[in-house]
Symmetry: C2
Subunit: 197 residues, 2 copies
């Protein structure tokens, strides 16, 4: 049995439900940040995951057939998270997912924008996608990006950059996409929907 448990994005966002699941686990995996947020980085059951690539994940799957395993995901496992990776690999082991507060929600709270007004786009380690400008007809965009994202391809559009939310160096800046520079690998880019004439 494998539980994929979100740690939340900011300190103090791990829920009681998540804590109970982690408490029951025989072994706990996660990045250092995920384990820290969940308050178990010094727990004897905790093991720091350095990669979320196929081999490592398959080994954890194997372990989940015999033991109660908790894998902690920063933010929410189903927001550009681990949940999807596991869905693609999952074989014959039971996987359950416990949601948590994602950086998307922290961004929406700061912007005072509702989730039903945006489309969330995961551009971490991905190239610019023409679909982005199509989606702008219907929704504001919240683009999850690293510092390599080609922001200039959004042209002169006004953007809000939410950087390092709930981490050291948190900052919110505004500017035009073709002149402002990305500086963080943990950036959420807000682009306002284009009202059609």
């Amino acid at each position: 049995m494998i539980w994929i448990v979100g740690s939340g994005t900011c300190r103090g966002q791990t829920t009681e439900r998540a804590k109970e699941i982690i408490e029951r686990a025989e072994v706990i995996y996660g990045s250092r940040r995920a384990l820290e947020l969940a308050g178990v980085v010094d727990d004897s059951r905790a093991r720091i995951l350095r990669s979320f690539k196929g081999d490592e994940i398959r080994r954890i799957m194997e372990e989940g057939r015999e033991r109660e395993v908790a894998v902690i995901s920063t933010g929410d496992p189903m927001v550009a998270g681990l949940g999807r990776v596991l869905r693609e690999i999952a074989e014959d082991v039971e996987i359950k997912i416990e949601p948590a507060i994602s950086s998307v929600q922290v961004a929406l709270a700061r912007l005072k924008v509702d989730l039903s007004e945006v489309a969330v786009v995961d551009c971490h380690a991905k190239d610019f996608d023409a679909e982005l400008t199509e989606l702008l007809k219907y929704r504001h965009l919240l683009i999850l990006a690293d510092s390599h994202f080609p922001l200039e391809r959004l042209g002169k559009r006004r953007v809000v950059l939410l950087e390092n939310l709930c981490m050291e160096g948190e900052r919110i800046r505004e500017g035009n996409a073709d002149s402002i520079e990305l500086e963080s690998d943990y950036t959420i880019i807000f682009v306002e929907r284009e009202v059609m004439e």
Copy 2:
């Protein structure tokens, strides 16, 4: 000062951060369900809100100028929630928002679908919107609906209905939109993206 605090969707999903904010408040507003989820329905500071209409909200705004007010919103305040209502009314009082786990995230965890693969559509007490079928070119849809939503207008499409998540009578059903019937006012409808030829 007004804090809009999410209670989460299921029991045990209120975060420590939310509890601390509620603890500091001089007065606490919310629907009965929101106050119950946050564990403060019997607190002497708690007042049950029966409506989220203009007059009631304006009175709370007024109060927020003098006192520390917490308004508890079921789920996340920025997911078809109170946050947007307040944004539209807000005058010269400081409003802060504390996110929480929404029914959308509970649905994504059950479906094992990522937020970046869907568009969330708020159709509570709203009519069918032609935009829905447009969005299906780009994303799966997660439609927040009540039992009056005209599901048949989605035609023969396969849908998954997630009803009463984390409430009494929770149920997940599948069927074709033109033949399955909505039975709950707390339904999330999942419609798969249309892959273009």
